[in-house]
C-alpha cells in the first residue's frame, strides 16, 4: 500500500512531523514502512505557464517555438512535444530548475534559436511511465483551464508529496485504505481524525424503477447495494483525484473509473461501475456460476467458470466476476450516460477462489479476500455517488436498491488490567489502558480494572483477549516492555546422545580431512534413482516425487545424497578445483508405498566422496591420488572411533564399479557401501576416478553406547608374531584374517595385514600376504608354548581352508 502524505493530511494533522519520523513511528507501532519516496525530490522552479503563441521552428520541422507566459515574464521556449498548442496551460521548468535524475535546465540555443526553459511531460517530472494517463503519455501534460498561471506546478501536481510504502502483514487489511491508515496515525500521534462527508442530493426518479436485486447465495454475498447515477458526462477526473491515484500507483482513466478507484483507496471498499444501458436487463442476479459457463472480462480474456465462482448476472449472462473483475459487455465507455454502481460485500473465500483459479489479483480482490469493513460498504457507495454527481455531472436516483443480510455488529472483548500486566510483564495502570483505548478510537465500558471493548468492525483482526494485549502493547510501545528472564523452574538443556553422536561423527570426518557439504534434498527424477544403497533400494519402491514441481531439476526427493554430491564435485572441477573430499550427514526419504499416502521414513545417512589428488604438492614423496583404500581407511576409522566392528563384502550396485565396491555389514545387517563410481557415470558427471561411501547412521546410533565403559589397562606384556602366506590370487585377505582369528583362539588380540606382494619372486597366479598377530593374556604373562600352539593351529587352518603355504 502506497500512502500519499498529502492525501493523508486531509484526515489527520501531520504538519509537525517529518515523513521520516512518521515512518519510524508507524514501523515501531506495527506496520512496517518499507520505503519513503519523494517523487520530485530535486525538482524546483517548475511553474504553470500559458502558451501565448506557438509556431513552427524556422529551422526544424518537428520543433515548435513557443512564447510562454509564466506570470512574471514571458519566456521563449522550444518544444518538441507533438501535442503542444497555443492556449494550453503547461508545466514549465525555468532556467535553474533541477528535474529528477539531476537534470539541470539552462538557457540554450536550439538550431540557432534561443530557448529559455523546458515544457515538461509527467515522466520528466518524475512520475513512472505506467501511471501516466494514456492521453498524455506521448507528450506534455496539460493543466485544466482554471489553473493559475505562475503557481508551483509541482504542488499542483502533488509532486511535492512523500509516499510511504507500507509492508502490510495479512492481519492488517484495515490499513489497505487511507481511512485505516488515518486511524492508525491518529492513534500513534494522538491527533483527532477527520472523516469525509458522504452526503449527496438525489433526483426525483426512483432507483427501484430501474433495477432490482436477487441474491441466490447470501452466505457468499450478504450485502449488495446498487446505486443508479444518470446524466453522466464522461471526461477526465479532477486533477487532485488523478494526482492521488498516480501517487498510489493507479493509472487515471476517466472520471467514473477514477472515482471508484479513489473510493476504493479511501475507504478500502472495492466498487464496480456498470454501464447501465449495456447491462442487458433491469435485474441484478448474484449467483454461483454454472460449470463451464463462459464470460469475457474487462481485460478481453475469455474465462471458463465453475460453480465455485460467484458472478453478477443480468439474469441471463454474467456481467462481472464478483469482487475480481467486471465483464467486457457492461464496461463504462466514453458513451456511458447512466452508471449502475455496485457496493457489495463478497465472502473472502469466494473471491479468493475466483482470483486464484483465474490468476487474477486486483486491488479489489486483495481487499475482498481479507474481508472488508461491513459498516463501510454502503458508505463507500454513497461517497462514490457523491463524487459522481460532483465531478461527472451525475444525478443520483433516490433510494438505494439493496439486499442486506450482513452482520454489522461489533465484537466484544474483555480485558483486565492485572491480566494484561501478567502477560506483558509490565505495571500499566488502568488509566493508561483507558487512554490507549481512546487513542485507538475503540468504544469501551469500564468497570474498575475491567474493560469491555466494542471492537470497531474496521479491525477484523481483533477477536480475542490476546489480540487486545497486542493492541495495548503496541500503543504502549514494545520498547517500554522490561527485559526479564523466565521465572519457571530451570532445567538443564543439552544434547541427546544421538545429537552428540551426530556431532562426533561430523567432527571425525572433518579430522579425517573431509569438508562438510550441504546439498539439496530435491533432485531430478533420473538422479533420484542413482547410487542407492542396497538396504534402501530394497525398501523404497520409487523415489518420492513432488505433485507440482517448479522445475525438473528439483522435482524428486533423494534416496541417496551421492548424485547431488557428485554434482558439487563437478561444479568445483569446472572451476579448476580438482582435488576434493566431501562428506554430508543428511536424510533420505524412503517410502515403501508405490503411490505415496503416508510420510516417508527419513533415514539419516553419512555420505562422502573424494576425487583428484588426496595429497598434492608433496616435495618428499609421491603425490597420492585417491583410491579405494583411502575411502575404506576413512570408513574404518569411523567404526573404530565408534567402537563397532563391521564386515565388508563384494557387491554390485548400479552406478558403481563392479569390481571395486564393498557392502558394509554391521552385525549381519547391511548398512551401506563404499567404492569407486562406475567409470561410465564418472564420465557423465565429467569426473576423474571418484570414490564414495554411504552409511546408515540410524542403525549405528541405535547400537552405539555413548558412555565408554572402562577397560582395564593390560598389566602383562603382549607377544607379536608375523606370518607370511602364499595363496592363490583370488583368495581375499579378509577371509584369511577371519580364519586366523577363529583358529588362533582367545589369546589372539589383533590381526593386521602389513604386506601384500605379487611379482617375480612368486609363482604366477599367486600372491603373498603377511599378517601381524598380537597375542595377549590379560590375566598372566604369556608362555612361549601357548603362543606356539596357537600359531601352529593357525598355520594348519589356513593350509586347510585357503591352501595357503608359508612363504619361504
Amino acid at each position: 500500500m502506497f500512502v500519499s502524505l498529502n492525501w493523508l493530511r486531509n484526515y489527520v494533522d501531520i504538519e509537525n512531523i517529518t515523513p521520516e519520523e512518521l515512518a519510524e513511528k508507524i514501523t515501531k507501532t506495527g506496520i512496517e514502512v518499507e520505503g519513503i519516496e519523494y517523487i520530485a525530490d530535486q525538482s524546483s522552479n517548475v511553474v504553470v505557464g500559458f502558451v501565448n503563441e506557438c509556431e513552427k521552428h524556422p529551422n526544424a520541422d518537428k520543433l515548435n517555438l513557443c512564447q510562454v507566459d509564466v506570470g512574471d515574464e514571458v519566456l521563449q521556449i522550444i518544444c518538441g512535444a507533438p501535442n503542444i498548442a497555443q492556449g494550453q496551460k503547461v508545466a514549465v521548468a525555468k532556467p535553474g530548475a533541477v528535474l529528477p535524475g539531476n537534470f539541470k535546465i539552462k538557457k540554450a540555443k536550439l538550431r540557432g534559436v534561443e530557448s529559455n526553459g523546458m515544457i515538461c511531460s509527467l515522466q520528466e517530472l518524475g512520475i513512472e511511465e505506467k501511471y501516466v494517463p494514456k492521453d498524455v503519455a506521448e507528450g506534455i501534460f496539460v493543466f485544466p483551464e482554471e489553473s493559475e498561471v505562475g503557481v508551483n506546478a509541482l504542488q499542483l501536481l502533488n509532486l511535492d508529496d512523500a509516499i510511504l510504502e507500507l509492508g502490510l502483514t495479512p492481519n492488517r487489511s484495515d490499513a489497505l485504505s487511507m481511512l485505516g491508515v488515518a486511524y492508525e496515525v491518529s492513534a500513534i500521534l494522538d491527533v483527532p481524525i477527520r472523516l469525509p462527508e458522504e452526503g449527496v442530493e438525489t433526483g426525483t426518479e426512483k432507483a427501484s424503477d430501474y433495477v432490482s436485486i436477487k441474491v441466490e447465495d447470501p452466505d457468499l454475498n450478504p450485502y449488495y447495494g446498487a446505486f443508479v447515477v444518470k446524466d453522466i458526462q464522461i471526461g477526465p477526473s479532477p486533477l487532485w483525484i488523478r494526482n492521488y491515484l498516480m501517487a498510489a500507483g493507479i493509472r487515471p482513466i476517466n472520471n467514473v473509473v477514477d472515482i471508484t478507484n479513489y473510493v476504493l483507496l479511501e475507504y478500502g471498499q472495492p466498487l464496480h461501475a456498470f454501464d447501465f444501458d449495456q447491462f442487458g436487463s433491469k435485474e441484478i442476479v448474484v449467483r454461483r456460476a454454472h460449470d463451464g459457463e463462459k464470460m469475457i472480462t474487462l481485460d478481453d480474456e475469455e474465462r471458463t467458470l465453475k460453480s465455485d465462482h460467484l458472478v453478477i448476472t443480468n439474469g441471463q449472462q454474467p456481467t462481472a466476476l464478483a469482487g475480481v473483475m467486471g465483464g467486457a459487455n457492461s464496461e463504462v465507455s466514453d458513451q456511458t450516460t447512466t452508471v449502475l454502481l455496485e457496493a457489495a460485500y463478497f465472502a473472502p473465500s469466494a473471491v479468493r477462489t475466483s482470483s486464484k483459479d483465474h490468476g487474477l489479483r486486483s486491488e479489489s480482490s486483495t481487499r475482498f479476500e481479507k474481508g472488508v469493513d461491513p459498516n463501510r460498504v454502503k458508505r463507500a457507495g454513497l461517497r462514490a455517488a457523491q463524487l459522481l454527481t460532483k465531478y461527472a455531472n451525475g444525478t443520483l436516483l433516490s433510494g438505494i436498491v439493496e439486499f442486506d443480510q450482513l452482520d454489522k455488529s461489533e465484537v466484544e472483548v474483555n480485558i483486565q488490567t492485572n491480566k494484561i500486566n501478567n502477560r506483558l510483564g509490565t505495571e500499566i495502570s488502568k488509566e493508561t489502558i483507558a487512554d490507549i483505548l481512546r487513542k485507538l478510537n475503540f468504544n469501551y465500558d469500564q468497570d474498575g480494572d475491567d474493560f469491555t471493548i466494542h471492537v470497531p468492525t474496521r479491525r477484523q483482526d481483533i477477536t480475542i483477549f490476546e489480540d487486545m494485549i497486542e493492541e495495548v502493547a503496541r500503543i504502549y510501545g514494545y520498547d517500554n516492555l522490561p527485559y526479564t528472564l523466565p521465572q519457571g523452574a530451570s532445567q538443564a538443556g543439552g544434547l541427546t546422545n544421538q545429537q552428540q553422536l551426530k556431532r562426533n561423527v561430523k567432527n571425525y570426518f572433518e579430522s579425517a580431512g573431509l569438508m562438510e557439504a550441504i546439498t539439496y534434498s530435491l533432485t531430478t527424477k533420473q538422479r533420484a534413482n542413482l547410487l542407492i544403497s542396497p538396504e534402501i533400494k530394497s525398501k523404497a519402491e520409487v523415489p518420492v516425487a513432488l505433485a507440482m514441481p517448479m522445475s525438473e531439476e528439483h522435482s524428486t526427493l533423494r534416496l541417496s545424497i551421492l548424485p547431488e554430491m557428485l554434482d558439487s564435485l563437478a561444479y568445483n572441477i569446472a572451476r579448476k578445483q580438482p582435488n576434493l573430499g566431501y562428506y554430508e550427514v543428511g536424510t533420505v526419504f524412503v517410502s515403501e508405498q508405490k503411490i505415496v499416502t503416508e510420510q516417508p521414513e527419513e533415514k539419516l545417512r553419512a555420505t562422502g566422496a573424494v576425487t583428484g589428488e588426496w595429497i598434492s604438492h608433496p616435495w618428499q614423496q609421491e603425490k597420492r591420488v585417491v583410491d579405494f583404500f583411502l575411502v575404506k581407511g576413512i570408513v574404518e576409522g569411523l567404526f573404530r572411533k565408534l567402537n563397532l566392528s563391521v564386515e565388508y563384502k563384494q557387491v554390485k550396485i548400479d552406478g558403481m564399479h563392479p569390481g571395486r565396491t564393498a557392502q558394509i555389514y554391521l552385525q549381519e545387517r547391511p548398512i551401506g557401501f563404499l567404492g569407486q563410481v562406475h567409470p561410465k557415470l564418472q564420465k557423465d558427471y565429467d569426473l576423474k576416478d571418484t570414490y564414495v561411501f554411504d552409511i546408515d547412521l540410524d542403525y549405528i546410533f541405535e547400537l552405539h553406547d555413548i558412555e565408554p565403559s572402562f577397560l582395564k589397562i593390560p598389566r602383562y606384556p603382549s607377544i607379536s608374531r608375523d606370518i607370511a602366506l602364499v595363496v592363490k590370487e583370488e583368495v581375499y585377505a579378509g577371509a584369511i584374517q577371519s580364519t586366523i582369528e577363529e583358529a588362533g583362539g582367545s589369546l589372539v588380540k589383533e590381526v593386521q595385514v602389513f604386506d601384500v606382494y605379487q611379482g617375480e619372486h612368486l609363482a604366477k597366479g599367486t600372491k603373498s600376504i603377511a599378517f601381524n598377530i598380537l597375542y595377549l593374556d590379560p590375566e598372566k604373562t604369556l608362555k612361549d608354548e601357548e603362543v606356539e600352539k596357537s600359531y601352529q593351529a593357525i598355520l594348519s587352518a589356513v593350509q586347510d581352508v585357503h591352501q595357503a603355504e608359508l612363504r619361504g
Binding site: I464, T484, A492, G493, M515, V544, N572, Q599, Q620
Partner: protein, 345 residues
Amino acid sequence: MKERLKELQLEALERVEKASTLSDLQDIRVAYLGKKGPITEVLRGMGKLSQEERPIIGELANKVREGIANELDVKKAKLEAKELDKKLEQETIDITLPGRPVQVGGPHLLTSIVQEIEDLFIGMGFEIREGPEVETDYYNFEALNLPKGHPARDMQDSFYITEDLLLRTHTSPVQARTMGEYKGSQPVKMICPGKVYRRDTDDATHSHQFTQVEGLYVDKDVRMSDLKGVLNSFAKQLFGEDREIRLRPSFFPFTEPSVEMDISCKVCNGKGCSVCKRTGWIEILGGGMVHPRVLELAGYDPKVYNGFAFGMGPERIAMLKYGVDDIRHFYANDVRFLKQYHKAE
C-alpha cells in the same frame, strides 16, 4: 722428588691445555698416568726414601695423579661437547621447506552457525528437538492456527507431495509435535533447527531450500518481557554486546502478540546505510506469545499455560555476520567458499 712431581704436573697440565682432540687426551692419559708413566716411576723409586718422607711424597704423588686425571676429564667433556656441536651443525636442515601435508576438513558455515545458536540456547536450558522434513498438512499448518483457506498460507507457498503431505515450510511443526508428546502436562523449552522448503525460484536472496531454527517455551506465567529478555541475551551473545535490539509488532498466525526483532546495523552503527536500507536496523527474527489456539490444539490449556516462540534463518544470520552476498553460496559447495569458514577452533 717433590720437584720432579711438580714438574710432571705442570708439564701434563700444559699438554692437556693444548690438546685439541679426544685421542690427544688419551695419549696424555697413557703417557702420564699409565703403568709405564713417569708418576708410576716416581712411586717405584720411593723405596729409597726415608720413613718420614715416604707418606709425604706418596700423598703428593696421588694428588698430582688426581689433579691430572681431573683436568683430563674436564677437558674431555669440553671436547666432546664441541664435537657434538660440530656433528649437529652438519645435520642442519632447511626448516623453511613445507611440512608433510595433512588433509584438514571442516564444517559447513551453516552448521557452525546452527551449532553456535544451539549452544547458546542449551546454555539457557533449552533442549534440541528434530522432526520430519516431509510433514502432514495438519502439523505444518492446521496445528499452527493456519486452517485450510487461511490467507496467511499465501505467505509460504509450498511443495506438496499429496494433498496432505508437503515439504515443511518451517520448523514450527516440531513445536506442535513436541507439545503433543508432552501431553499438555509439563513445560516445554526447546529449539528445533532444520531444513525447510518453499516454492521460490533460486536467486541471490531466495532459495527453495534453506535452514531455520525455531524456539518454544511453554510454562505457567510466561511473560512477553521474558521473550524480550531471552532474545536480547541471545542476540548480544551472537552478534556482540555492543548491538542494540528492538522489537516491533508484527503478525504470525501462530503467535499473538507477534514481534519482529531488529538489531542495530553493524556496518553503520545505526546511522543508516545501504545494508540496512537507511533504517539503521536489520531484521533478524520473528516471534511472539504462543497463540492460545495453538496451545489448545496441542493439548495445553491456555488458561493455565502460555509461552513464547521465535524463529530465525541461519542463512540470513550468516549473511549478516560474514557479509555473504548470495544465498546460493550455501548450497553450491564451492570449496573456495567452504574453506573460508573453517575456523581453527
